[in-house]
């Protein structure tokens, strides 16, 4: 496929890896923010191509993983109502709430449907005027334009039986939270390419300046990731801390103005709880007052649900880049993708799940030797 295959060229990948080896003179810790990047890095073994001085730690950028436990419990409560058709992206179905997941809720009789796009929910709402159709609106800024359009369009068309359960999260606040942490190890970021396709990268410039960290907005293919690492290491070695754009075939500094405009008309920034991390001020979106009739949390009166997380798992430390998945004693034992204990094992883009899919045999062999 054009714009995909050429960015997986092994020869070019080796050349960039060679350039990184030539550039690096001392240890550096880089964090890739986005779960899609984590998945590519582990799948293609990008980290194994890097010199040992360059350590990649995996960030909190998997919205499936960081959707709070209580939001999932709210989804279950709404989905179980007999008058509701509950729609979701497929990857939310297996994410455990405090008791069960949406697949089990479905087996108990709930009408739960997987959709490709939030716009599919509007068709379902029109075809089922006697039902209330709820979409589980999770995601980072990348997904916000789609969810904003669904609500906007519902209001324009007078589709009154469509509701959004909003659990949007934002990248810049969690990057700042990581950098402010007393146990922070991260010295530079590979920035989230597709988030910036929507938002541009202006809002990363004050973070880079304030904390003196390079931020290189990076794509998702192996060559993108390697070039992102190269640009980051070049900055670190030179003592620079700028925002740079590796993913220029997709991203501009301004981002997608039309998408930002609709986001700002439909959503407003709010405090948000992150699974494994806790509450972060101004780190999410909620619906604006004008769209309150489409706000599932308000309409179905689930705002009071408050669930505490298990203290067993270390996913909070993994999400902040302090620990690696295999450093957890439960990894691959009590905690697997079938029975995840915490945030980073629940989705294929979570760091623990990616290690489980591509690395668990090597990890098990090392553990048995030690």
């Amino acid at each position: 496929m054009k714009y995909v295959d050429e960015y997986r060229d092994q020869e070019v990948a080796q050349k960039i890896a060679g350039e990184i080896r030539k550039t690096v003179t001392r240890p550096w810790v880089l964090m890739e923010v986005c779960g899609g990047q984590t998945h590519s890095i582990v799948k293609y073994g990008i980290d194994h191509l890097l010199p040992e001085e360059v350590e990649l730690v995996h960030g909190p950028g998997c919205p499936v993983c960081v959707t709070s436990l209580e939001m999932i419990d709210k989804a279950h409560r709404i989905a179980l109502r007999p008058d509701v058709i509950f729609c979701s992206f497929g990857d939310m179905l297996r994410v455990p709430g405090s008791e069960v997941d949406l697949l089990i809720v479905k087996s108990r009789g709930a009408d739960i449907r997987v959709v490709y796009s939030p716009l599919d929910c509007l068709k379902i709402a029109k075809a089922n005027p006697d039902k209330k159709v709820v979409f589980f609106g999770i995601g980072f800024e990348t997904t916000a334009p789609a969810n904003a359009m669904a609500v906007w369009q519902a209001k324009q068309e007078g589709i009154r039986n469509f509701y959004l359960l909003v659990s949007h999260v934002l990248v810049p606040p969690v990057m700042s939270a990581i950098l402010q942490s007393p146990v922070n190890r991260v010295q530079a970021f590979l920035g989230p390419g597709h988030v910036c396709a929507v938002m541009g990268y202006r809002e990363y410039e004050p973070i880079s300046a304030r904390y003196k960290v390079p931020i290189v907005i990076t794509g998702f293919e192996p060559i993108d990731l390697l070039e992102g690492v190269l640009k980051t290491v070049q900055q670190l070695e030179a003592g620079r801390f700028d925002v740079e754009n590796q993913y220029s075939r997709v991203i501009t500094r301004e981002g997608n103005i039309a998408a930002q405009k609709l986001i700002n008309m439909v959503f407003e920034v709010c405090d948000r709880k992150w699974r494994g991390v806790g509450s972060i001020p101004k780190s999410g979106y909620k619906l604006q007052y004008d769209f309150r009739d489409h706000d599932a949390e308000r309409v179905f009166e689930v705002e009071e649900i408050d669930t505490q997380e298990s203290s067993l798992c270390i996913s909070g430390l993994v999400l902040k880049g302090v620990k690696k998945p295999h450093e957890c004693t439960a990894f691959g034992k009590e905690c697997t993708p079938e029975h995840p204990l915490g945030a980073t094992m629940v989705s294929s883009e979570g760091a623990c799940a990616a290690y489980y899919a591509y690395r668990r045999h090597g990890i098990a062999a090392r553990q048995s030797r030690s």
């Binding site: 714009y3 716009l119 039309a258």
Partner: protein, 84 residues
């Protein structure tokens, strides 16, 4: 979750007042909302996430950066060659 895939715009239509297009992903064709990429024309590649085109691929930038990366090694090889 933030997965977004480049696809080629085939043709446009209007559905419920929204600008839509058929987009081909290596032969698989899907309906995509084009409201956020109003300047895209048939033949352009757009980056699509959950049924929405978020960005038009910049062919010149793609070509330029790829050429630079291909040349990386050649320079290294020249340097290595002269040192030997």
């Amino acid at each position: 979750m933030c997965l977004a895939i480049p696809g080629k715009v085939i043709d446009f239509s209007e559905v419920d007042g929204m600008k839509m297009a058929r987009v081909s992903f290596g032969g698989m064709v899907k309906q995509v909302c084009m409201e956020y990429t109003p300047h895209a024309v048939a033949g352009d590649y757009v980056l699509v996430h959950v049924g929405f085109a978020l960005s038009t691929m910049n062919a010149d930038e793609a070509e330029r950066t790829y050429r630079l990366l291909e040349e990386l090694g050649q320079l290294t090889e020249l340097e290595d060659g002269s040192a030997a």
